[in-house]
Amino acid sequence: MIRKILIFYILALNLLFSLPVRAAQQDNPGDIDLSVLDMEAVEQVVRQLDDEIQQAVPQLDFRSLTAKLARGELEWNISEVFNWLIKFIFNEVLANLLLLGKLVVLAIITAVLQNLMTAFEKATVGKIAYFICYLVLITLAVGTFTLTINIGREAVDNMVIFMQALLPLLLTLLAAMGGIASSTLFHPIILGSITVMGTVIKNVVLPLIFFAAVLSVVNGVSAKFKVSRMADLFKTAGMTILGLCSTVFMGILAVQGVAGSVSDGVALRTAKFTTDAFVPVVGGTLSDALEAVMGSALLMKNAVGVAGVVVIALLTVLPLVKILAIAFVYRLAGAVVQPVGDGQMADCLTGLGNSLIMVFGAVATVGLLFFFAITIVVGMGNLTVMLR
C-alpha cells in the first residue's frame, strides 16, 4: 500500500509541476487579477500553520504562490527539492538518535540481566529485574509512539482545516465560471465528506492502530499469555475502515463532479448559443470576449488549485517524514538489539516500527485523497468549460 501511495505522490507531483506552469505560459499573464479574490481565510490558515512548516518554507504566502503559478514564474528545481527532502529526513533521523541510544542501551542492559539471571540465588529476582527493564523500555517506546501518533493527528487536523478554507474559494471560482450546479452539488458533499474523513481517520483509524501497537507490545511481555490475535484484529479493522473511507470518498466525488459539470456545460453552451444567435452580427465577438475572460478565470482557478495542492503536499510531507524517521529508528533499534538481546524485545521494537508505517500510510492516504479532491474540483471547472 505504501509503495502505491509513493507512486501516486510521485505521479501527482510530476503532473502538478509540469502542466499548470506550461498552461500559464501559453495564456496572457497580464490577465491574471488576483485582487478580486477574497483569499483572506486561506491566507490566515497558512499563516497559522505549524512553526516547523514555517521554518521549512519561510516565505510561504498563498497569494504570491498563486500569482507565481498563474504567471509561470515559480522557480523550482527538482534536484533542489529532493536534496532538501533528503536533508530533512536526515535531520529528523539525527534528532531521534537519542531515542535510538536509549532503546539500545536499555535492550543491552536487559540482555545482560537475562544472562546473569542464573547467578542470582533465586531465578525470580533476575526475572523481575528483567521484567522491570523491559517495562521501562516499552514505556519509553510507547511514549514516543504516542507522540508520533499525535503528529499524525495534527497533520490530519491541519489538512482538514486548510481544505475547509480552500474549498469555498475554489467553489466560488467554479461557480463564477458557470459551474453553479457543480458548486451547489459539491459544497455540502465535499466539505461534509472531508470533515467526516478527517474525523474518522483521526478518531477511529489512528486509535485502532495505536491499540494494535500497544497490544503487540503487551504480547511480548509474557511468553505464555498472548494477545497477538487481538492486535491483528484491531489492525485489520483500522485498515479496512481506511480503505472503505477512501473508496467511498473517491466514489462520491467522482460521480457528483461529473453530473454537475455536464449540467453546467449544457447551461453554458445554451448561454453561448443565445448570445451568438440573438445578438445580431457581433454576437460572436461578445461570446468570444466572454470566452477569453472565462479562460483567464479558468487559469486563475487552476492556479489557486495548484497552490492548494502545494500547501497540502507540504502539510502532508513534513509530518510524514517525521513519522518515517521515527519508524526507521524503531526498526533500526530492533535490528541492532536482535543479536544481543532476545527476540522478544527486537520483535516489540520492529512491531512498533511497523505500526508507525501504518500511521504513515493513513496520513498519506488522507493527503492523497485531499489532493484528489482539489484535483477533481479543479478538473470539474475544466470539464465544464470544455463541454460548453
Binding site: 521484567f131 482545516i161 469555498p168 461557480a175 463564477a176 511481555v221
Partner: protein, 205 residues
C-alpha cells in the same frame, strides 16, 4: 472508541497481572491454572464489550466534527455572483472596446471625412437584449487639406441620433459634408444591422 480503549486497558491489566502471578507463584501445576483463569478473564472482558454492543440502543452519536466554521453555501454563491459580474463586466468592456476599434476601422475607409473617435454603448441589462449595440457615436472632422490649401471650414457638430434629431448645426455644415456624414452613418448602421437613428455622427473641429 471509548469502549475499545477500556477493553485494551483491561487486557493490559490482565496480562500484567498474569505476568506478576507467574513470577510470584511457585512453579508447578499452579501455573497452568493461573493461565486458564487469566484466559477466562480475557474472554469475559471481550464478551462484555460484545454484549454491551448488542445492548446498545444504536443511538450512535456522530463524532464531533472539526470545529473550524466553513463558509456557507449562500456565502459561496454570493461571492461567486459578485465574481461572475466582475468577469462579465470585464468581458463587456473588452467587447465594447473591440467593437469600437472595428467601427473606427470601418469608418476610416470613408474618403471624405476624417474619423477621430468611435464610442459604443451596449445594453448591459440582463435578458434577451444583453450585449446588443444601442448607440454608435462617431466623431468626425475634415480631411486635412494637404494639396491646395483650401480654406478651413468652421467646425460643425452633426448628430444623427436617437433624439431623432438631426443635431446638425445648420449653416455650419455644407450640404456636401452633410451627405458624407449621412453616408457614413448609413454604412455603419447597415454593417451592424442597426436602425440609422442608433448611429450618431458628431462633427468637430
Amino acid at each position: 472508541m471509548e469502549i475499545l480503549r477500556q477493553l485494551v486497558q483491561s487486557l493490559i491489566i490482565i496480562v500484567m497481572l498474569a505476568v506478576f502471578l507467574e513470577l510470584l507463584l511457585p512453579s508447578g501445576t499452579m501455573q497452568g491454572y493461573v493461565k486458564m483463569v487469566m484466559g477466562l478473564l480475557v474472554v469475559i472482558a471481550v464478551l462484555q464489550v460484545v454484549f454491551d454492543f448488542f445492548h446498545t440502543d444504536f443511538y450512535l452519536h456522530v463524532p464531533k466534527l472539526s470545529s473550524t466554521p466553513s463558509a456557507a453555501l449562500e456565502q459561496v454563491q454570493a461571492n461567486a455572483k459578485e465574481l461572475s459580474e466582475h468577469y462579465q463586466n470585464r468581458a463587456l468592456e473588452d467587447y465594447r472596446s473591440g467593437i469600437a476599434k472595428q467601427v473606427l476601422a470601418l469608418a476610416r475607409l470613408n474618403r471624405e471625412l476624417a474619423v477621430l473617435d468611435a464610442r459604443v454603448d451596449l445594453n448591459t441589462s440582463r435578458g434577451e437584449n444583453f450585449g446588443r449595440l444601442q448607440l454608435i457615436q462617431l466623431t468626425v472632422t475634415d480631411k486635412p487639406q494637404t494639396e491646395q490649401g483650401a480654406g478651413k471650414i468652421k467646425p460643425v457638430e452633426i448628430q444623427v441620433g436617437a433624439d431623432g434629431g438631426d443635431s446638425y448645426q445648420q449653416g455650419q455644415v455644407t450640404e456636401e459634408k452633410q451627405q458624407a456624414m449621412d453616408k457614413l452613418a448609413k454604412t455603419v448602421a447597415n454593417f451592424y444591422n442597426l436602425p440609422p437613428e442608433q448611429v450618431q455622427v458628431i462633427y468637430t473641429n
